[in-house]
Amino acid sequence: MSEIIELSSTDQQDAKRLDTSLQFLSFTLGQEEYGVDILRVQEIRSWEPVSRIPNVPSYEKGVVNLRGAIVPIIDLRERFQLGHSDYSPLTVVVVLQARMADKTRIIGVVVDSVSDVVDVNKKSIQSAPNFGAKVSTEFINGLVSVSGRMVMLLDVDKLLKLDGLDGEDES
């Protein structure tokens, strides 16, 4: 029998990176449009009430039960200091996978709306300029233009690490 080669996600990613095209999930926060690597997206859900966690920053809205797993929910709008918006059943939560150290964490982020899945040519990605104080450029991987709209591509790992969610130093 021939050898069976197991295709792990890493392998796939590696394969993708070699590819010229990348897929991003784009969503809006206020007037701005952001994108995350679609492979880091676990699922997209609508908003449901959270259980509040005490003594954490206000953009950490709380935790929800996601099929038995306790998943924190972060309001990106607040995180990016774009003001607060009310939540409704039409509010969208994007569940992301973040890698920290050797662990994968699942975290939900609240966005205004999800726009699309966009294919982006690697080459068309531009490096992020400095936006000033409003949004730290630290977790912006780059900028890309999709049908004339500017989409900021977010680095999920950095984005979620910056939230101080890394419990390693404490535990």
């Binding site: 029998m1 050898e3 069976i4 197991e6 792990s8 996600s9 009430p49 959270v50 259980s51 509040r52 966690i53 005490p54 003594n55 954490v56 709380g62 935790v63 929800v64 039960n65 038995g68 797993a69 306790i70 998943v71 924190p72 994968t104 964490r105 699942i106 975290i107 101080g164 969610l165 890394d166 419990g167 404490e170 535990s171």
Partner: protein, 696 residues
């Protein structure tokens, strides 16, 4: 191929460890005066299995080592060799060595070759000694060292160039789940394989039963292949075929170095396996691996999770129960959905019945699932006979170890975490507790000391007792020592219990001289901490000259908790029921406000600090902020007592503990989270954390 095989390594290791355990207990149980052949057989079978398995997976070092043991045991089984205590000791040592080897392979670390060589030499010596009927003596390390150098080339001299095998399976071979192709593939992994098929036996197409094997082969495999490896491949089909093999000899100079090869081959595989077993593993992959498992036909009744350290062996009956339960659940579900399709109000009772049935089945299912995690405590206990044997022989004490309630079941996590503390306690009893035989005789006690390990259920707890009939604890000595070490004041007044508890204090050891077994003074405090980390506690009872009993109380499981729901504003929190002492309304005259240090209240003469939940958790929706209007729940955790000010008590329920840290982070004052009946998440409170939080 290697990837394929890697799926089964885990199973192999588990089975091998079990086999080793069986060998060890078999050896320990051997009555030298009247050897039961069946006992030897059991040990032999275990060794044989390990040999076969390691051969299959290519762990030649293991199979070689086992082979020697097997030879010795074979002679013992056939009665050609007398079973002597030195021989048993050598075998026990070999079992340990084998275990170390397997563990090293499993962890992907280097096998301690010198140790292996030492034990192998001991075994060979035993074999030779027996033949020459010389008395067995323990070889000195120096002798072992010189021997190992000469022993190895001696083994290598039997270098073989290849094998010619005539393989004629019986018609029903395929029905036993064996597949010749796979076997050939394995052979091919050993060396270059040429196969010639003999089609003579194949019948006419009309008479052909596709499930029967009518073919026979002539196989020739070239390479430095030990006979055992070849045997290993055909091990499972020995009874189902006609097999003849002949070695092809070759000059030894071409042989590559032996030991490093398998290690290199093994390690990456092991690593891959552990890596693969991650949450990212997709379902497709899982199902694939399952189907492979089924195809292999090697699975018996045990279900193996792909995870390395977290696999578990479960009794089939438990699985059957689970399946029954799921069946019931499915029936209930279909009944309910049928009901829901044409629901009318007059079927409300039916609906209620269905729902209560559903609830019952779900609960039973939950219990059954929880039950799967339950393991008999014998997993821990089984190692102690060996321990007792070793220590008694080392110290020259006569000790009998009694095990009671080995089948008492306890959560797997608990079993695992219990192991080390228990070893420590048993060691203490053996080392410090039981006196030397002459001392015992002088004290009017039987020469043989008894250490009893007992486990039983009490309520929702498991109780494990380590009792000895030794000298017991000397309170005065304990006290003097504590004072000497500055642990207590010279004039401190201590009750008996408090005195005994001194031994749990860090840096306390009463052994007059240190031994390599115990007495380093770092044991008991660690033991206690570990037990407490498991949510249990430890007690000591002793009588000078008569012995001591140490009891450990542990919750049956760490995954489920008896919780009390409390309400603070709109939010619900869970308090471990065990930590609650009482709940009360406090009156104004019992309250004290200490400037800058918060509030206290008087409870039976004791001033307890009040922790306002709404304050420390910033709950804005709290019903009341007046202490006299809400409830004070008096709780205790790690020796700390305080009153939690909450709005109300809700219900008591069992909750499944979920980690907050898995996806989030540690939150001070919260030990975990759980999912309530309505699907929402509630936080489980951590009392010491709350106290710390309140003190900030």
């Amino acid at each position: 191929m290697s990837i394929d095989m890697a799926q089964f390594h885990q199973v192999f290791f588990e089975e091998s460890f079990e086999g080793l355990d069986a060998m060890e207990s078999g050896l320990l149980n051997l009555d030298l005066g009247d050897v039961n052949v069946e006992d030897i057989n059991t040990i032999f079978r275990a060794a044989h299995s390990i040999k076969g398995g390691s051969g299959t997976f290519g762990f030649t070092a293991v199979s070689d080592f086992t082979h020697v043991m097997e030879t010795l045991l074979d002679e013992m089984r056939d009665g050609r060799r007398k079973i002597t205590q030195p021989a048993v000791d050598v075998l026990l040592g070999s079992v340990d060595c084998l275990r170390d080897m397997l563990q090293s392979i499993q962890n992907g670390s280097e096998v301690d070759q010198s140790d292996v060589a030492e034990h192998k030499l001991a075994l060979d010596n035993e074999l030779n000694n027996a033949v020459s009927s010389s008395s067995a003596g323990k070889p000195s390390p120096e002798a072992l060292a010189s021997n190992s150098a000469t022993a190895l080339p001696a083994d290598e001299a039997k270098q073989i160039a290849g094998w010619v095998i005539a393989f004629s399976p019986h018609l029903h071979l395929l029905k036993t789940g064996n597949e010749p192709v796979r076997m050939f593939r394995e052979l091919a992994s050993l060396g270059h394989l040429t196969t010639t098929v003999d089609l003579q036996g194949v019948p006419d197409l009309y008479d052909l039963d596709p499930e029967e094997c009518h073919l026979s082969w002539k196989l020739s495999v070239l390479g430095d292949i030990p006979e055992t490896e070849v045997d290993e491949i055909f091990d499972w089909v020995e009874d189902d075929c006609d097999l003849a093999k002949q070695p092809i000899y070759q000059t030894p100079t071409e042989a590559p170095p032996l030991h490093s090869a398998p290690d290199v081959a093994i390690n990456p595989v092991a690593n891959r396996v552990t890596e693969d077993v991650s949450p990212e593993l997709t379902r497709a992959e899982e199902s694939e691996s399952n189907s492979l498992e089924r195809k292999s036909g090697k699975k018996e009744d045990a279900k193996a999770a792909p995870k390395g350290s977290s696999s578990i062996r479960v009794d089939t009956s438990k699985i059957d129960t689970l399946i029954n339960m799921v069946g019931e659940l499915v029936i209930t579900q279909s009944m309910l959905s049928l009901l829901g399709e044409h629901f009318e109000l007059n079927k409300l009772d039916q609906l209620k019945n269905g729902l209560s049935q559903l609830e019952r089945h779900t609960r039973e299912l939950q219990e059954s699932v929880m039950n799967i995690r339950m393991l008999p405590i014998s997993f821990v206990f089984s190692r102690f006979p060996r321990l007792a044997h070793d220590i008694s022989s080392k110290l020259g004490k006569k000790i009998e170890l009694k095990l009671v309630g080995e089948n008492t079941e306890v959560d797997k996590t608990v079993v695992e975490l219990l192991s080390d503390p228990l070893v420590h306690l048993v060691r203490n009893s053996l080392d410090h507790g039981i006196e030397m035989p002459d001392v015992r005789l002088a004290a009017g006690k039987p020469e043989t000391g008894t250490v009893t390990l007992e486990a039983y259920h009490r309520g929702g707890n498991i109780v494990i007792e380590v009792a000895d009939d030794g000298k017991g604890l000397d309170k005065d000595k304990l006290r003097a020592k504590a004072i000497e070490k500055g642990l207590i004041d010279a004039d401190a007044i201590l009750s008996d219990k408090q005195t005994y508890e001194l031994i749990f204090m860090p840096g306390f050891s009463t052994a007059e001289k240190l031994t390599d077994i115990s007495g380093r003074g770092v044991g008991m405090d660690v033991v206690r901490r570990n037990i407490q980390a498991l949510g249990g506690n430890i007690e000591i009872l002793s009588e000078l000259g008569k012995g001591s009993t140490i009891s450990i109380h542990l919750p049956l499981t760490l995954a489920i908790l008896d919780g009390q729901s409390i309400a603070v504003g709109d939010e619900t929190y869970i308090l471990p029921l065990g930590s609650i002492i009482e709940s009360l309304h406090v009156k104004e005259d019992r309250l004290n406000r200490v400037a800058g240090k918060g509030e206290t209240f008087l409870l039976r003469g004791q001033y307890l600090p009040i922790i306002r939940m709404h304050q420390i958790f910033n709950v804005l929706t709290a019903k009341t902020t007046k202490l006299t209007e809400g409830l004070i729940v008096v709780v205790e955790g790690q020796g700390l007592r305080c009153g939690l000010f909450v709005d109300d008590l809700l219900g008591q329920q069992q909750v499944v503990i979920k980690s907050l840290e898995a996806n989030y982070r540690r939150i001070e004052g919260v030990s975990g989270a759980t999912i309530l009946g309505d699907g929402s998440v509630a936080l489980i409170l951590d009392i010491p954390g709350l106290v710390r939080l309140a003190n900030q």
